[in-house]
C-alpha cells in the first residue's frame, strides 16, 4: 500500500472518532424529556470527557414549539416624537435667551418646527446659533412665523437610532425572562426578528415586547390623602417591630409609610402591598383606582426585597404618583453603575446618569419646583426607586437601589439599569408584522415523524446500493453512514438548528451523497468492461470522475448558499443542513470510499463485485 493511504486512513478514523465524540452531548440531550433539556440535569449528565455541553444539536422552533415574531419599528412616529421634543427644547432655549415668541410647535406633518413670533430674525439667529448642527431655515414661512427643518442626515440618524434602540430594548427584556437561546436580529425595513424557542405563551410575549420601553420620572403625590380611605376597605398588613411580617396575606393588604412633606412636617401615607405583582395590580385596580382622578394621579408598583442573604424575601408595594410624566429617558445622555460616596447610603452601588443639555434644563426646572418631594424613577412600568429631591439636579443625577441585597447583586442590577437607560426609552412603537407560533404538542410529533422518514429514506438508499453494487455498494453504505454522522456532528459543533425542512435536507443529502458513489461505481464498471484490471479500474474510476463529482457538489452548494442568504427560520435550517451535507459528502464519497476500495483491490489479482 502506498504511504499516502495510511495517512488517509488515519484521517478517516480520526474524523469518525471525532464525529462520535462531538455527538456525545446531543445523545445525552435528546435522551432527556424536552422540559429538562435546558436544565441542570442535562449539564450534569454530560460526561466530563465529552465536548462542552453547549455543543449539542438544537431543535428549531418548528420542532420544539415556540414563537417567532417580527416587529416593525414605527420609525416615522419616533421621528415625530423627537421633533416634538426638539420643539419643546427650542421653546425653552428661546425663553432663556429672552427672545420674544408666542408659540412653538411641530409643523409640516411633524417634521419641521414652526415658531410663531414678531421677531423672526432674532428667533432664527438664537435658534441656529445653538441648534445649527441639526437645523436649518428652509424659508417660505408665512408671515409671523419662522420654520426650521432638520438636516437629512439628522432625520436618518433619528430613524436608525430608533430601530437600534428598539432592538436593544427587546434584547434586554428577553434576557430578563431567561428564555433559553433566544435569537434576536435586525432585518431590513426597520424590522426586528425575535425567536423564542420553547416559549409557551405567545400573547405574553407579544404584550411584553410590543410595549415601548419607558424610563419615566414622576413625582410622588405624598400630600394626597385620597388613599387613606383604603384602610377601611382592605385588610391591614400584619407587621412586627422590623416592618411587615412576610409572607403577606394572599390578595394583598394596606400599610403605611412615613413621608416628609415639602412644606415641612410629615404624615403617614397609606400604600398597598402584596406578595405577587399581579395580586397587587389587581388590588390597585379594584380598590385604589376608584378613589383617584385618573387625570391627576396614577399608581406605580415597585419591588421591595428584605432580609439577610439566604433568607431574602420580596414583596410588591404601591406608590401614589402624579399622572403626568415629567421627564423621559429620552433625555438621558449616558448612564453607568457607580458607588455612592455621599450621604447615608455611602458605599452602595448606584446608577449615575448624565442628562442631555436640554434634559438638564428640564430636570433643573422639575427639581426646583418639586424640592423635597419624592421623585419616582419608573422603568418599564416598575418603580425602581423614589428618593427625595434634596437639591437641584441638572446635568447629573443618580438612582439609588433601595434594598439590602449583596453588593455584587446590587452592582449587577445597577449595571442592568444603566444599560436600559442608555438603550433609551425612545417612543418608537412597534407593530407585529409576522408571527409564527408552534404549539408544544406539535413539535415532538413532527420530530417523531421526521426521524422515521429519515430512517426509511436512509434504509431505502442503503438497501438499493447493497443490492445493486453488492461489495462496492457496502463500501458506499459505510461511507453514507459516516456521512450522516459527520453532518450531525458538524451541526452539533457549530450549534446549528435542526428544523423540519432541515430533516428533509438531511435526507436529501444522503441521496445526493450516494450519487457520487453511483458515478464512481459506474465508471469502474465501464473501465472493467474496457478490459482493465480491477486495481487499474478503481484508480481510473476515481481519477476520472473526481472533477465531475466536485462540479456536481459545487452547483448544488451554490443554490444552498443563495438560499441561506434568502431564507429565514426553518428554510434557512434546510439550507444549512444541505450545505453541511454536501461538504461532508464530498469527503466521504471521494476520500473514504476510495481508501476502502484501494485496500480491497490492493493486489493485482483482486476481485470486486461492483
Amino acid at each position: 500500500m502506498e504511504r499516502s493511504w495510511h495517512w488517509r486512513v488515519g484521517l478517516i478514523v480520526a474524523v469518525a472518532l471525532f464525529s462520535l465524540w462531538e455527538l456525545v452531548p446531543s445523545w445525552f440531550y435528546f435522551r432527556l424529556p424536552p422540559d429538562e433539556r435546558s436544565g441542570e440535569r442535562y449539564e450534569r449528565s454530560v460526561p466530563r470527557w465529552a465536548p462542552d455541553s453547549s455543543r449539542h444539536l438544537n431543535l428549531g422552533l418548528d420542532l420544539q414549539g415556540g414563537i417567532l415574531l417580527s416587529m416593525g419599528v414605527d420609525v416615522d412616529r419616533a421621528v415625530k416624537a423627537k421633533v416634538a421634543r426638539r420643539a419643546d427644547e427650542v421653546g425653552e432655549h428661546l425663553k432663556e435667551k429672552g427672545v420674544a415668541f408666542t408659540g412653538v410647535a411641530p409643523a409640516a406633518g411633524g417634521l419641521r418646527i414652526a415658531v410663531t413670533t414678531t421677531a423672526p430674525a432674532e428667533v432664527e439667529k438664537a435658534t441656529l446659533d445653538f441648534y445649527g448642527a441639526e437645523l436649518y431655515s428652509p424659508g417660505g414661512a408665512p408671515a409671523g412665523q419662522v420654520l426650521f427643518a432638520f438636516k437629512d442626515q439628522v432625520l436618518r440618524d433619528f430613524k436608525a437610532k430608533a430601530v437600534e434602540q428598539a432592538e436593544k430594548t427587546i434584547r434586554n427584556r428577553v434576557d430578563k425572562w431567561g428564555v433559553s437561546e433566544p435569537d434576536i436580529k435586525r432585518k431590513a425595513d426597520n424590522q426586528i426578528q425575535i425567536q423564542l424557542p420553547g416559549f409557551k405563551d405567545p400573547e405574553k410575549a407579544k404584550d411584553l415586547l410590543g410595549r415601548t420601553a419607558q424610563l419615566e420620572f414622576k413625582i410622588c403625590d405624598d400630600e394626597n390623602a385620597s388613599l387613606d380611605a383604603l384602610r377601611t376597605q382592605v385588610p391591614a398588613c400584619p407587621s412586627g417591630r422590623d416592618g411587615l411580617t412576610l409572607p403577606l396575606p394572599e390578595g394583598g393588604c394596606w400599610t403605611v409609610e412615613n413621608v416628609e412633606l415639602p412644606g415641612g412636617g410629615a404624615r403617614q401615607a397609606t400604600l398597598l402591598a402584596a406578595g405577587k405583582r399581579p395580586e397587587l395590580e389587581a388590588l390597585v385596580a379594584a380598590k385604589a383606582a376608584p378613589l383617584l382622578d385618573p387625570a391627576r394621579n396614577a399608581v406605580g408598583v415597585g419591588e421591595v426585597t428584605v432580609g439577610e442573604e439566604g433568607f431574602r424575601q420580596t414583596y410588591y408595594r404601591s406608590y401614589l404618583l402624579r399622572a403626568k410624566t415629567e421627564l423621559t429617558g429620552d433625555y438621558i445622555a449616558d448612564a453607568r453603575a457607580s458607588v455612592d460616596n455621599s450621604g447615608p447610603g455611602s458605599g452602595r452601588p448606584v446608577v449615575v446618569f448624565t442628562m442631555s443639555p436640554d434634559g438638564a434644563r428640564l430636570m433643573e426646572k422639575l427639581t426646583t419646583e418639586n424640592l423635597h418631594r419624592r421623585m419616582a424613577t419608573v422603568l418599564d412600568d416598575k418603580v425602581e426607586t423614589a428618593p427625595y429631591i434634596q437639591g437641584r439636579i441638572s446635568g447629573n443625577g443618580q438612582i439609588s437601589l433601595g434594598s439590602n441585597r449583596s453588593y455584587d447583586e446590587m452592582f449587577q442590577e445597577a449595571n442592568a439599569i444603566a444599560l436600559v437607560l442608555k438603550a433609551g426609552a425612545l417612543p418608537a412603537p412597534v407593530t407585529i408584522t409576522e408571527e409564527r407560533t408552534v404549539g408544544a404538542t406539535l413539535g415532538p410529533e413532527l420530530v417523531r415523524k421526521g426521524t422515521l422518514a429519515a430512517l426509511v429514506g436512509l434504509g431505502a438508499v442503503l438497501g438499493f446500493m447493497l443490492l445493486y453494487y453488492r461489495g462496492s455498494g457496502l463500501v458506499a453504505d459505510v461511507a453514507l453512514v459516516l456521512n450522516g454522522l459527520l453532518v450531525l456532528a458538524i451541526m452539533s459543533m457549530i450549534g446549528s438548528t435542526l428544523t423540519l425542512p432541515g430533516i428533509a435536507g438531511f435526507v436529501l443529502t444522503l441521496g445526493m451523497a450516494v450519487d457520487a458513489n453511483v458515478l464512481i461505481n459506474e465508471r469502474i464498471r465501464e473501465e472493467m468492461r474496457g478490459g482493465r484490471t480491477v486495481k487499474q479500474s478503481v484508480q481510473q474510476g476515481y481519477d476520472k470522475v473526481f472533477w465531475t463529482i466536485v462540479d456536481a457538489h459545487v452547483t448544488t452548494l451554490v443554490a444552498a448558499v443563495v438560499l441561506m442568504q434568502y431564507g429565514s427560520g426553518p428554510v434557512r435550517g434546510f439550507a444549512v443542513t444541505l450545505s453541511i451535507g454536501l461538504v461532508a459528502s464530498l469527503f466521504t464519497s471521494i476520500v473514504v470510499t476510495r481508501a476502502i476500495m484501494e485496500y480491497l483491490t490492493r493486489h493485482d489479482s483482486a476481485r470486486l463485485s461492483v
Partner: protein, 390 residues
Amino acid sequence: MQFKTFDILPHGTTIDFVGKRRIAVVLSLIANLTILAWSIGHGLNFGVDFAGGTEMEVKFDRALDPGDIRRSVEALGFKDASVQTYGPVGEHSFLIRVGRIALMSQADVTRVVDAVKARFPVSSWAFDPESGDKIDFQFGGAVADRDLLAAVEGAGVKVREVREEAGLTAGSRSFAVITQGIREKVEHDLAQRFGDARPEVRRVEYVGPAVGRELRNQGFKAILYAMALIVVYVGLRFDFRFSPGVIIALLHDAVVTLGYFAFSGREFNLTSIAVILTVVGYSVNDTVVVYDRIRENQGKFKGRALTDLVNLSINEVLGRTFLTSFATALSLVGLLVFGVGTIFDFASAMAVGIISGTYSTWFIAAPMTIWLEERAARRSAARPAAAASR
C-alpha cells in the same frame, strides 16, 4: 475474469436523443408555457408566507366537516376563509387560512374614531390599513385608558389592549388601541361552537401583507441569482458554449417544479422556493456528467460529427444519469410516506424536479449544444460565401 453485474439500463445503447430533440423541445415548450399561463392566469395557491394573512393549524378530537368550520369562520366576517384537512385523516387536523383582509374595515374605523372624538379631545389619529388592528390617538388633554377602552368597545369593536405611548408634545397624551387579533377571534369561536371536539390550536402563522410581498419578490430573485451563478460556474468549468443549454435546462426544471404547485393547488410558500432552488442546483448535476463525457469524447474521437458525439456521450452515461436520480429520489420515499403538509409537498415537488432534471439533460441540455454549434457553423460558412460574392 468473471463478471456478474446487472444493469438497470443495458449499456451500449444507441438511442438517438439528438434526433428527437425537435419533438422534445416542442413538447417541453408547450408544457412550460401551459404551466406559466396557468400559474399567472389561475394563480398559485400562495401560502401566508407570500400572500399575507393568518394560518392556523387546529386539531380536533373527532371528525368534523371542513365545510362547517369554514362557515363558522366566515360567520365571523372573514369572507375569504379557506379550510382544508391537514395530514392523515385520522388526526382530524385542519388548516384554516384567513387571507388579506384588514381586521377593521374603513367603516369600523370611522365609527370608532367618531365615538372617541365625541368623548375626548382628539387632536389627531392614525390608522394603518396594512396592519388593520391598531388605531393611534393623540389627545390634547387627560384621558383614562379605561374610558377609552369603553368608548371603543361601545362602537362595536373588541379591544385587546389600550396602550399608552409617550406623548408627542408636552401635555398631550397618546394611546394606541389594539383590537382583537384573528387568532383570538377564531380560537374563541371554535371553542364555543365545537367545544365538545376539543379544538387545539397547534400552530399559528401570521404574516403582514407587506412582509409577504417582500418575501415573495426576494424568493423569485433568489432563484434567478442561483441560476445565474450556476451558469457562470458551468461556463467557467466547461465552455461558455454550453451555457445556453444549461440556462434553458435550468429554466425548464424550475418551471416544471413550479408546475407541481400550480396544478396540484398545493400551497406555495417559503419551502417551495427552497425546493425550486434545490432542483436548480441538483438538476444541473446530470447535465454536468453528460457535458464532461462530451468533452472527454471530443478529445478521444477527433473529427467525428458533433451529433454523433453527443448521442454517444448521452448513451454512454445513460445508466448513471438514471441511477443517480433514482437514488436521490429513493431517499425521498420516507418523506413521501410520513411527511405532512409542507414536507410532503417538499418531497413530491423535489421528485418532480429530479425527473424533470433527468429528462432535460437527455433531451434539452445536450442536444441544445448541437443547435448552437450548427448555427455557428452556418454563420462561419456564410461568411466566406458572402466574401466570395462580393
